[in-house]
């Protein structure tokens, strides 16, 4: 029963990130086809991303719905989801080690701070890369927390 619940949490989260990434790529495609839904998708992502065209990759002649860094984070999240079954399985959930989190967070933290305080300007590729590294570790946190809520006091939680 617990394994099934953890698997359901995993599958639900996987569906969510696939839909999220799909929408990011769908926005410029719909815009290139003149479908108004494309603009609506851009608006939906506006609370979580500045969507500055110069900092975004382009597809079908239009910027994606999020910037390069955000795209890296979400892509990394998907990669983390792909790794999760092999590294954790679905019998138990546990949080990653803090050292691993800090190691994967350091590049994006340093890069963001440097750009924020205008110490340097990073290329979109590097923004994508640092975001990707950080994104990989995030599912291991989110799935653990959501699984704990789903399982409540089940003993399978470490």
């Amino acid at each position: 029963m617990s394994r099934r619940r953890i698997l359901l949490v995993y599958l639900g989260t996987l569906a969510g990130i696939l839909a999220w990434l799909g929408a990011i790529g769908l926005a410029p495609y719909l815009r290139s086809r003149g479908v108004p839904l494309g603009k609506f998708i851009y608006v939906c992502f506006s609370p979580v991303c500045h969507q500055i065209p110069a900092r975004s990759f382009v597809a079908w002649g239009y910027p994606l719905a999020v910037c390069a860094r955000c795209l890296g984070i979400y892509s990394g999240f998907l990669a983390g989801m792909a790794l999760y079954p092999f590294l954790r399985g679905f019998s138990t959930v546990r949080l990653p080690k803090t050292k691993v989190f800090l190691a994967l967070t350091a590049p994006i933290a340093v890069d963001t701070a440097g750009n924020f305080f205008r110490l340097w300007a990073t290329s979109n590729i590097l923004r994508l890369g640092t975001g990707f590294l950080w994104g990989i570790i995030l599912p291991f946190y989110l799935l653990t927390g959501l699984a704990e809520l789903a399982l409540k006091d089940k003993k399978q939680i470490e």
């Binding site: 239009y62 704990e148 809520l149």
Partner: protein
């Protein structure tokens, strides 16, 4: 072993206020990181006052509440900035006009008039949508925060030394 857990709402309100104010201001654009940061702050505040170790699930709850509060506060805070936001939005729309031919009719005059008529229905729809998105981001931040700050080292039990020496004595005999 399982002591009473601290309340979640007050720390979530504080974290949500910080995240909402910063994300609502057009001056500090760090995308979703404000929401995650606010949720980490909320987790820290919960963990600080907790006599027991807290789990990732607790972080997810306080983080989700933080995200919802942040969405509400962001919506309120961004209202006074609307004029400034309109100027920013105008720049964005002008840039967008370079890429598309299907701009809304008369969009430039809309900016000349100002922010346009305030629509409560649109405001509420946006609020509900942002609350859902921010709740997920907040849950993530809350879990991270609880992983960083939620564990407590239990004090050594009194009388352990005596018990140990007794056990040792027992084993040795």
């Amino acid at each position: 072993m399982n002591g009473p857990k601290p309340g979640l709402l007050r720390p979530a309100l504080i974290g949500g206020a910080v995240a909402g104010i910063l994300s609502g201001s057009p001056l500090f654009c760090l995308c979703c990181l404000w929401i995650i940061g606010g949720a980490i702050l909320a987790s820290y505040l919960v963990a600080k006052d907790s006599p027991v170790s807290l789990k990732a699930g607790d972080g997810a709850l306080v983080g989700a509440f933080t995200g919802i509060f942040a969405a509400v506060i962001r919506a309120i805070v961004s209202l006074p900035f609307q004029t400034f936001n309109v100027a920013l939005l105008r720049k964005f729309m002008e840039r967008l006009a370079e890429f598309t031919q299907e701009m809304p009719e008369g969009w430039d005059t809309w900016f000349n008039r100002g922010a346009g008529p305030f629509s409560i229905a649109w405001f509420l729809l946006e609020l509900v949508f942002w609350a859902a998105i921010f709740a997920v981001l907040g849950a993530l931040g809350g879990i991270i925060g609880m992983a960083l700050f939620g564990k407590k080292t239990p004090p050594p039990a009194q009388g352990t030394k005596n018990e140990t020496s007794q056990d040792t004595g027992h084993r040795q005999s």
